[in-house]
């Protein structure tokens, strides 16, 4: 087991208006894992991840990032370790050139000269938008703007990258792009992704946590989580379509999550049933 990057101990959080959004959360996030956080709107997903980079501080309990208590650091200081990509790219884009937008974060961290240039170039190349560097960010389409937002965080080289609903409003191509980007980034980063796209979650996540009513209802690998239909129903979540199809067929394994697995299962199921005849 590798070292945890983020440790959450008995975290309870109440908003100033009096709404308790998190209750007694205990969680460890390990280096290199792709953690998906799923659950209904208002179940506390965003409130939880906002604690990881100090945007919110616990009302009770502690959040430790590399053994540093977030209560003692500002978000700007924690942004070296934990990068947070917001849901709506329009909330953060303010520069008139794409590369200037990407530079903003690294500059805040004190990067200069060739080092700055290199990190901007790398970040734009990972998302495949190096060619658009001289464009005005607001001239780009939503897919590209989202990638700019992600790239602007990558340029800061954080250990952990949080993606808050990276596929909202994206077309099929955009979702595929985000998926391959997560796979690529997970080689060097710990990824935390909030998503309502179960298909994406089932393919990229190494662990899924299901939030319900300000608590973690249960967690496990996608294969373990997406077969617990009774619990999922309680949270109004459903396994990805292909998994539901597999679960509805008699004699199929219940933990089929991808189309490839489905085809394999189809073949082996056929040979099993022909043997029994």
């Amino acid at each position: 087991m590798s070292e945890p990057v983020i440790k959450i101990k008995d975290l309870t959080f109440t908003y100033p208006a009096g709404v308790t959004a998190l209750r007694e959360i205990n969680l460890e996030i390990n280096k290199g894992e792709v953690l998906a956080v799923i659950g209904q709107n208002g179940s506390g997903k965003t409130t939880l991840v906002k604690h990881f980079n100090g945007l919110l501080k616990p009302s009770r309990g502690n959040v430790l990032v590399n053994n540093n208590n977030t209560k003692k650091f500002t978000t700007a200081q924690l942004s070296r370790t934990v990068g947070y990509v917001f849901q709506d790219p329009d909330d953060q884009i303010f520069m008139s050139k794409v590369y200037k937008e990407i530079e903003f974060g690294p500059k805040n961290l004190g990067l200069k000269g060739s080092e700055l240039k290199r990190s901007v170039k790398e970040a734009l190349e990972i998302v495949g938008l190096w060619d658009l560097r001289r464009k005005h960010p607001l001239d780009l389409n939503l897919n590209e703007k989202k990638l700019i937002a992600i790239s602007s965080i990558i340029a800061m080289k954080p250990e952990v990258i949080i993606l808050d609903e990276p596929t909202t409003g994206q077309d099929h191509h955009g979702v595929k792009k985000v998926e391959s980007l997560i796979n690529e980034l997970s080689r060097n980063h710990t990824i935390i992704v909030i998503s309502h796209n179960m298909d994406l979650v089932s393919r990229v996540a190494s662990r899924v946590i299901v939030m319900y009513d300000s608590r973690i209802l249960f967690q496990g690998t996608p294969k373990k989580v997406f077969v617990k239909n009774a619990l999922l129903n309680k949270t109004y979540l459903k396994p990805p379509p292909i998994a539901r199809l597999a679960q509805s067929i008699k004699g199929f394994k219940r933990d089929v999550l991808t189309i490839d697995e489905f085809i394999d299962e189809l073949i082996s199921n056929k040979s099993r049933s022909s043997k029994s005849h």
Partner: protein, 258 residues
């Protein structure tokens, strides 16, 4: 969004809440006229203290004073600028080096302006807190004001909380990119520039979308509009309006003669 000043209606069961919006508007405007008649800031402070029973009877004693802290910086600037550079200065209060001085007339002028701001803020805020925007629009329409006028008032009241929550999200997004928002005033001012772009663009975009959405629901249709919320001017409203105007005349004249 912690500690933000939210301009919005708070639903409470109180005498003041149940008054017709027009009555409350008459009271608020009367108070504002009164503070421009008065000649001394002490009178304004007395008027300011009168907010306490009003707020108490609206069950909003604490909330109504909340926005005052946002005026503090304006007060400081007023006192410094007027104290040093008031054009009709005559009496030196404190002599400062390099030929500067703090002038009595300037300070009096600053306290006059500040006390007026203070009164307008709390009475205006109490009006907003106790009046449902829908009621206000309906009441204004009953006064035969054009519908669009009511909408402008409504939109203004709604836009502030919306811009504030958008601002909060943008600040969080930029903090996550290493923007430090703590430190000296200069540092903080500089830190807030990256927020203006997204905020401005977002607001313009919102306004356009809102206009489309309104039109899609026949906003500018040329016919008699009905309202979900109905307001009636009752007997108590009439009595209070008359009393308010009598009070305004009495207080106004006394304050002018004193």
């Amino acid at each position: 969004m912690p500690r933000a000043l939210l301009i919005s209606y708070i639903d409470k069961d109180s005498f003041f809440h149940k008054l017709n919006p027009v009555t409350k508007l008459v009271i608020t405007i009367s108070v504002i006229i009164l503070i421009f008649i008065t000649k001394s800031f002490i009178h304004n402070l007395i008027i300011f203290i009168f907010i306490i029973p009003f707020a108490y009877y609206s069950k909003l004693t604490k909330q109504v004073f909340m926005p005052i802290k946002y005026l503090f910086i304006i007060f400081v600037i007023l006192f410094v600028i007027q104290g040093l550079f008031y054009p009709f200065r005559e009496t030196v209060l404190i002599q400062l080096p390099y030929g500067f001085a703090i002038w009595t007339e300037g300070l009096i002028y600053a306290s006059m302006i500040s006390s007026r701001l203070l009164v307008m803020l709390v009475y205006g805020y109490l009006f907003v807190l106790t009046t449902h925007p829908g009621d206000l629009v309906s009441a204004l329409r009953k006064l035969r004001l054009p519908y669009i006028f009511g909408y402008i008032v409504l939109a203004t009241l709604q836009i502030i909380p919306r811009v504030q929550s958008q601002m909060a999200t943008i600040i969080e997004a930029q903090k996550s990119r290493g923007l430090e928002t703590k430190g000296s005033i200069v540092k903080r001012l500089r830190a807030y520039t990256p927020l203006l772009g997204p905020l401005f663009m977002g607001s313009v975009q919102n306004a356009i979308e809102r206009a489309t959405a309104l039109e899609a629901r026949a906003f500018s249709a040329k016919c008699e509009k009905t309202s979900y919320r109905e307001t009636i001017i009752m007997k108590k409203d009439k009595v209070i309006m008359v009393l308010t105007i009598i009070c305004l005349i009495i207080f106004g004249v006394t304050s002018w003669l004193l």
